[in-house]
Symmetry: C2
Subunit: 209 residues, 2 copies
DNA sequence: AAAAAATTTTACCATTTGGTAAATCCACGA
DNA sequence: TCGTGGATTTACCAAATGGTAAAATTTTTT
């Protein structure tokens, strides 16, 4: 009897949990926690509602499971920021990784955005425990790059915010972006080029003398 | 008998509609359309549910009214971007106006963000009709500034996206920002300084020779 | 193949939700 | 001051929602 069991899951169990989480990601990312319904998730997953509650303790459990799994993926690009690499390259590559993630995992981006937008009621602790230490660590790395004159003197904390904002924008505000760009050739490449130019411009040390 | 009436509204009518819309802004911006309930809005407004439905045709009507009213406010800062002003100043001032709006109208920002996040189901037409023409117009202005060498050659469309993203981030992701910044002195001023430095850096024409 | 365990379905249930009908209250102009 | 129309409340309702109990079915183990 699964749901909260500690036994190793059968293959049918693993399969169904994955199917449910995938369906739930669809629904939660589109309607938010309170706007999503178990019936919707069940229909999307091709299972009955009670069957879903056989695998998860409830709606909240599904949502929390999704957010927990997501956190890892979400932090990964920042983890890879190498203190020993070339500062400009490291930051530009980080921007690129985040942008690629917005393209490849838009549902995850929106799930995350929705949760934060609503005040992070179910993720506050995760942010504090997992994100904050990493954030502080990488801010220190950037601060060091600045102090040694490798990049322009920007506020590290807010620089990271700006990177998150500009990249995730393409997933979270896709509906607006697509209206405004119309049918354009390879918007992702354009976005990538723009962000590269933008961050290159602002990062290059200020004086040319 | 109000709700859809064309008569001029009494002062009590005007007052209650305003109270309801203010309460609804709270609730919708926090829970999204589907997650919000009329009971919540009623409680927040200090009115009974049927009384609310006396002033609005239904939940959707309230939401739509909010979005319509918001659109005007939302476009305003961009409208003010002056083709005849100094390019650098104009853009930096625009950034500042947007940032101030994120600070002063966070609920509105989140309402908008939530609607877009969910695919703009009730606002697609508004975007197409009101936002797109203005967006195209101002992109042309920026393109002209670039062509005459006044600012660095950035993609106008994506530059505007980046301005929106970086400024609205402080309202939409406030829950995350506050966790990561901790209790810091005047985060808004820091954000303002950062954005100014950042956009100054990227806008200044590339070569110093 | 039989027993045991895991999985799925059927039939519910209490609560919440958006919304309505009609009775009542109340402000205000004649 | 009294009538009238706007404003508000009371009492509902049908549908949807999160969730449960237990029977039925399938899978796995012996």
């Amino acid at each position: 009897m699964p749901d909260g069991s500690q036994k190793k899951p059968s293959r049918i169990q693993k399969h169904n949990r994955r199917v449910i989480l995938d369906a739930a990601l669809d629904v939660f990312s589109q309607h938010g926690f309170r706007g999503a319904t178990l019936d919707q998730i069940a229909t999307e997953a091709g299972l009955s509602k009670p069957n879903i509650l056989y695998y998860f303790q409830g709606k909240e459990d599904i949502h929390l499971t999704l957010l927990s799994q997501l956190m890892e993926t979400w932090l990964d690009p920042l983890v890879e920021l190498d203190p020993n690499g070339d500062p400009q390259t490291e930051i530009l590559d980080y921007v690129q990784r985040k942008l690629d993630m917005a393209r490849d995992l838009p549902r995850e981006s929106r799930l995350f955005a929705g949760e934060i937008l609503q005040g992070a009621p179910r993720m506050g602790p995760h942010l504090e425990r997992d994100l904050k230490p990493l954030f502080d660590e990488k801010c220190a790395v950037i601060a060091h790059w600045i102090n040694t004159g490798k990049i322009a003197p920007l506020d590290p904390q807010h620089l990271i915010f700006s990177i998150w904002a500009t990249t995730q924008h393409y997933a979270d505000f896709a509906a607006q972006v697509s209206v405004l760009l119309g049918s354009q050739t390879d918007p992702h490449q354009r976005a990538s080029d723009h962000l590269k130019a933008m961050f290159s411009g602002m990062l290059r040390p200020p004086a040319c003398d």
